[in-house]
Amino acid sequence: MKTTMLFSIAGIAVFFIGLYCLMAYRHLLKKIIAVNVMGTGVFLFIVSIAARANILQPDPVPHAMVLTGIVVTVSATAFGLALFKRIYYETGKPYLDNEDK
Amino acid sequence: MDALMPVLVFLTSLLTGIFIFLLGEEQRAIRTFLNIAGATVKMVLVGIIIWGVFHEHSYESRFTVIAGIDLVLRVDALSVLFVTLSSILWFLTTIYAIGYLEGSPNRSRFFGFFSLCVASTMGIAMAGNLFTFFLFYEVLTLTTYPLVVHRGTEKALKAGKTYLIYTLTGGAVLLFGVVWLYILAGPTEFSQAGSLEHIGAEHYHLLKIIFVLLIAGLGVKAALVPLHGWLPEAMVAPAPVSALFHAVAVVKAGAFGIVRIIYNVYGIEFASMLGLTTSLAAVAAITIIYGSLKALQQDDIKKRLAYSTVSQIAYIVLGIAIVGKIATIGGIVHIVHQGIMKITLFLCAGNLAETLGLRSINQINGVGRRMPFTMAAFTVAALGMIGIPPMAGFITKWYLGIGAVQAGQTWVVAVLASSSLLNAAYFLPIVYSAWFKESSISWLENNRSGRFETGLLLLLPPLVTALLTILAGLFAASSFSPLDWAKLIAFREYRE
């Protein structure tokens, strides 16, 4: 019980770390990674739920949720990277800020 | 059929407008045909309605918008007065406009909006409750805006801007009042003697606030001082538009709304019990004097006429605000009388400007010899405005004066007298110079004039309305005259 609680808390912490990085860094690659970190935090949290009721017979629904979530995040990341590439080629800079154009 | 009649009257203008929009710019013959046909059909329908209302038919069309809120078109005696006035004047103005705009661009757009504007006036005239009235009141703003800016010049756009600022703000204030009243009193149907008497005394202060909101909203279009600022600027619109604005559409809609609020929403007795009518009478009196004084200072003919409208419309409001049957007759009949006189003046002014390029009063010397018919019509209407018998304007002032005395408000007589003097002071010099002075400058002749002093289409409408001005005064006592209808309305209002 204690371990899963720890996972839950860690998950939420990771989510906020990701959010912080997303806000704090200007480099787009870092931002994209930050989004993934946020996602991982949420997934960790969800997985931790699955084990709460009975550690030997985990709830399958959260797994399905995480799998779906991962698929979504992967595709979003792929698209983000494609956009990043485009931005980098067009401006020569990996930033979003307009004044750096 | 009776339930369909108001819708049909409304549709004659709406459909005319929509079809005209669909026409190409060059399909002049079809457009003219549509215009004339629409106006004619409408006059026939209105004729049937007049007969019906006289024989106590009731015409009502109803459509539920949301539960508790109906769109109602209903014809009562007051609607008939306004509907008749607008359908006749629309017909004449359309003819005038066809002549006036010959050869100018964007005529499809012009006539389309022209018809839509009349359609919304019809809606206002036949609105059976406050919601419907508000609806068409706002639509009127929107359909008239394109007419104000029709020429597309910087000046026109600026005037349009002023117009929208005034009317939309007024509309917002009105909406506030309408919604508030709706919450307090439910769907406010226009009824013979008002529909608010059942409201408890604890709400009286709210009713007063709402009254102020409503009158302020309507006062913008009715050009009550100090809400009149848009009117002189809007003079930049083409002449037929100005004529329609001042005689039937915009200004009249505001005045008509005030009549509706006092008679059919609050009820005249209830309103005077709340003490609302006295202050309204004061506003009207100030407007009458102020408008006349400003008119005196104008050199531009159309602007002088515009300020004259400011003051003349306030007669209608004054007639209602003096509580009493006789004054009511005077106020209501002025809806018609002011309409026919003012449209004559504007059409004549349009003729002067179109034919001779003459816009300012100091150029007018001797123009009576060049354009005798136009100036004759102008003179008739101007004398009517001053209130000289037997013109229509005399009837108005007579009833207002007697009514004021009867109601014990003698101060109104002083207002009437001084305003008549002022009217004379700003109209007579024009008339005098036109007929009796030698022309000092050469006019900018353009090739409008054919066999007559100007195009026939431009000449006939003001002559007809001038004739109406005389007839309405001469035959005021006969049945079916405007005065007769006004009496009918007043009798019904005062339940005799």
């Binding site: 595709s75 | 539960a67 917002a172």
Partner: protein, 488 residues
């Protein structure tokens, strides 16, 4: 199961199939586009008809019952959203055919657009909170991708679109993940995802309130409520016109729809006058902020985009006014909010299509250079005029009906300050719409060569604006539909 019962499934599957087909097709095939769009419309209409006749409906995907199965649920509110989507969608599909002159951008546009349509329908029908997450993500990803579909040859504009897309992607990922975290918190507490089951067991607790907070923030980001609106104007203004129409007209509405559904459904215990006030204040600030910035824009699309920020604000006034739902005024405010949402969808998408026509005709959309529209493009001119009425909320448009009900609800329930905001907002809207109107009457500037605009594009813009006007007369049936099977 007979075909007629499957309308719900068809309304999702048909656009999905369409999207797949358009991925594979090399050439553009107009007939297929029209057929897929019409079929989607048809299935929506079929579903609407069923719901109208027999009330709200459930569909258990694969025959599995919740809590394990996924449930689709159609009631009056979802039907209205789907019908709105279908009508706007059909117009967008036809419009795009002409708008994207080069084959390449149309090839990118079509599959993404039909994915978006499918995910909208799926979202409106979703009956469980995780499925909502999935549809929300599908929606966001296709929307972001659509922003970057660009037919502009101009590199700086293309660059702006990519920038806007990137910002939109990041922000909407934050929104989605917030939402997902909220879902996870709820699942941790109750072990169910189905909305109906959840509403039976949910009870106030700290973790539930945390979940509600995350879910709400996530959805507010996607709805672009002030002060989370900053991403919207660049994204909506830099996208191609038909995409802007979809984004402003439909996409932001989807997350708002979820907020209403959740707050007046499962979270209704949390809806108090305080939380209502919170939404109301943000909404009011959005109205004023959006309108103010709309006034300062130099291009039509930016102006319209800021107007969307303001109009979203109106929808949120629903929360303070309808917080005491069973009351007469509360019900009226609910009607007002939904009616505003729908009529805004038509008016706004029409405006964006008009802006597309203007860009095609003039090669730009700077407000000071669009004189001559009234004369040369009368249909676009009419569309601009009519949809402008809808945005300001003047009679006889649907926007007016919504505004009337909002005003009645706010004065009637004694919260007159919202009425002041509403009227102020309308006057400001009148001013920014006027900025466009005043220019279209101006004469054409000299030495400008106008490009021809396909008639169909003009007619489609006019079509949408006419719907927004006719909504002034259709309130009664629409609001009756809204009340079918409503949970709240």
């Amino acid at each position: 199961m007979p075909l007629a019962d499957q309308w719900m499934v068809w309304s999702i599957i048909i656009p999905l199939i369409g999207a797949a087909i358009f991925f594979l097709l090399k050439e553009r095939h107009h007939t297929i586009i029209v057929i897929i769009s019409l079929l989607t419309l048809l299935s929506t209409a079929g579903l609407a008809f069923n719901v109208w006749k027999t009330g709200s409906q459930f569909h258990y995907a694969g025959g599995w019952q919740p809590p394990l199965g996924i449930v689709l649920y159609a009631d009056g509110m979802s039907i209205l959203m789907m019908l709105m989507t279908a009508l706007v969608g059909l117009s967008i599909s036809l419009y795009a055919l002409r708008y994207f002159s080069d084959k390449r951008s149309l090839k990118f546009f079509l599959p993404l657009w039909f994915f978006l349509w499918a995910s909208l329908n799926a979202l409106f029908l979703s009956g469980d909170i995780f499925n909502i997450y999935v549809t929300l993500e599908l929606l966001s990803l296709s929307a972001v991708a659509l922003v970057t579909v660009s037919s502009q040859q101009d590199t700086s504009q293309r660059r702006d679109a990519v920038f806007a897309g990137m910002r939109y992607l990041l922000i909407s990922m934050i929104g989605s993940l917030c939402y997902l975290l909220g879902v996870a918190l709820l699942y941790a507490g109750y072990g169910v995802l189905d909305l109906k089951l959840l509403s039976e067991v949910i009870a106030p607790s700290p973790s539930v309130f945390a979940a509600i907070t995350f879910i709400t923030i996530g959805l507010l980001i996607k709805t672009a409520l002030f002060p989370l609106h900053f991403w919207l104007p660049p994204a909506h203004a830099n996208a191609p016109a038909p995409v802007s129409a979809v984004l402003s007209g439909l996409v932001v509405k989807a997350s708002f729809y979820l907020l209403v559904r959740l707050w007046f459904g499962v979270f209704s215990f949390a809806l108090s006058s305080e939380s209502g006030l919170f939404f109301g204040l943000l909404g009011a600030s959005g109205i004023l902020w959006g309108s103010f910035f709309a006034l300062r824009q130099k291009t039509i699309k930016m102006l319209i985009a800021y107007s969307t920020v303001a109009q979203i604000g109106y929808m949120f006034l629903l929360f303070p006014l309808a917080a005491d739902m069973p009351s007469l005024w509360g019900a009226m405010a609910m009607n007002a909010g939904i009616y505003h949402l729908i009529s805004h969808a038509f008016a706004k998408s029409s405006l964006f299509l008009c802006s597309g026509n203007i860009i095609l005709a003039f090669g730009h959309n700077r407000i000071d250079g669009i004189g001559g529209i009234a004369k040369h493009y009368p249909l676009t001119f009419s569309a601009l005029g009519l949809s402008g009425l809808g945005i300001i909320g003047l009679p006889i448009s649907g926007g007016f009906i919504a505004k009337w009900q909002f005003l009645t609800a706010s004065i009637g329930s004694g919260q007159w300050w919202w009425a002041v905001i509403i009227i102020t907002g309308s006057l400001m809207a009148a001013v920014y719409i006027y900025i466009i109107w005043s220019r279209i009457f101006a004469p054409l500037e000299n030495d400008i060569v106008l490009n021809p605009v396909p008639k169909s594009m003009e007619i489609l813009a006019l079509f949408l604006s006419l719907i927004s006007i006719f909504m002034g007369l259709t309130a009664e049936p629409v609001l009756q539909m809204l009340h079918i099977g409503r949970h709240f």
